[in-house]
């Protein structure tokens, strides 16, 4: 999908208008951002905003994340285990240190 994020009031208003006018191309509206279908028309809408507002419009191409393909097992298991932790107040760093889960700082340094 195409993620369009606006960074000025004028760009945000034009995005809103575009979303009103082209519901069929809008997958999701998120306040000052929107997800468009990845079609030529979705690209057209995104690009016309960028043409009008330049850097005030950020356009990203998004992909669903398949964690089984892209994320190491240790990270996946840590996420499951942390979601299932006993005490809601335990911060992850502490949780990871006790068990054999990856250290948050180390994870931050490793790109997917």
């Amino acid at each position: 999908m195409l993620l369009v994020v606006t960074y000025s009031r004028a760009a945000r208003q034009t995005l809103r208008n575009a979303c009103e006018a082209h519901e069929e191309t809008v997958v999701r509206r998120l306040g000052r951002a929107a997800l468009f279908e990845e079609t030529e028309f979705g690209a057209f809408l995104a690009l016309r905003l960028r043409a009008e507002y330049g850097v005030d419009v950020q356009v990203e191409r998004t992909d669903p994340l398949n964690e089984f393909e892209a994320v190491p097992e240790g990270v996946r298991e840590a996420a499951e285990a942390y979601a299932d932790r006993e005490h809601a107040s335990t911060p992850y760093a502490k949780f990871a240190a006790g068990d054999d889960h990856p250290d948050p700082a180390a994870m931050k340094d490793r790109e997917l």
Partner: protein, 271 residues
């Protein structure tokens, strides 16, 4: 006031310029000091003149906005004023870097095209060398061409890698620069909210006087002063405002411009 259109000079608290070929736009511009078509000598227009200093049948107005301007002209302030000034100066001080990744994006696409083109060229030359060999023909010339194409391909690939790195770096910079844009939008939203609240607060300070002004109009008006027609609303707001500069009037609500000036308690330039 003193109105001089180059031929006639008219002076007084009330000037009836209906006989002159004077446009409303020129008259208003002259009063506000940014027109040359006609000279109007008068006191400097205050805060409300822009909202209520020009009255004509087709005008449309936000009543609360006009009342807020009238309140300002009378020296009223809003509780939000300090915060508004703070936000305005914060906005003025904010530097928003303008980082476009467009050249980097276009460069990546161009380099990728070049690689693809050279890739095809190399494949084609390889095919020709192969074909010549199968016929035991001379291959030197084509092989020289192939070697040159392969060198060019290697170079183009290096360029593409450099362009991609450059694009990644530009994208990172643009993301960081958007923090400032984000901040600007937050401040602008906040400013708009505060200004709206200030407008409401200011309008409230003179709402009663406005109600009285509407009731005092020498024509029929509805009981709710916020349901009146736009011309009535502007005239009533103008009556409440401290206008100093003349009201440019081109409507027939009063029995003559002198009556209008009395009712508005302001100078009147009748067009």
């Amino acid at each position: 006031m003193r109105v001089d259109d180059g031929e006639t000079v008219r002076e007084g608290r009330v000037v009836d310029a209906r006989a002159l070929a004077l446009s409303r736009a020129d008259a208003v511009a002259a009063i506000r000091g940014d027109g040359a078509a006609v000279a109007v000598a008068c006191p400097e227009p205050g805060a409300a003149h822009e909202r209520v200093g020009e009255v004509y049948p087709e005008l449309s107005v936000s009543i609360r906005g006009a009342l807020a301007a009238a309140a300002r002209s009378r020296g009223h302030t809003a509780p939000q004023d300090d915060r508004i000034a703070e936000i305005e100066s914060e906005l003025a001080a904010l530097t928003v870097p303008d980082v476009s990744t467009r050249p980097a994006r276009a460069d990546v696409a161009d380099r990728a095209d070049a690689v693809e083109r050279l890739d095809e060229r190399v494949a084609e030359l390889r095919g020709r060398v192969q074909a010549l060999r199968e016929r035991d023909a001379e291959t030197d010339a084509v092989e020289t061409e192939l070697a040159a194409a392969m060198r060019a391909l290697t170079e183009a690939r290096t360029d593409l890698i450099a362009a991609r790195e450059n694009h990644d770096a530009a994208t990172e910079t643009a993301r960081a620069a958007r923090d400032a844009r984000e901040r600007r939008m937050v401040l602008e939203d906040r400013l708009a909210n505060r200004r709206r609240a200030a407008r409401e607060a200011l309008a409230d300070t003179i709402a009663d006087e406005y109600r009285d002004a509407v009731a005092a109009a020498p024509w029929a008006t509805p009981a709710d002063p916020f349901e009146v027609d736009d011309v009535t609303a502007v005239l009533a707001a103008a009556r409440v405002a401290d206008l100093r500069a003349p009201v440019v009037l081109s409507c027939d609500r009063f029995d003559g411009p002198a009556m209008a000036a009395d009712w508005l308690d302001a100078e009147v330039l009748r067009l």
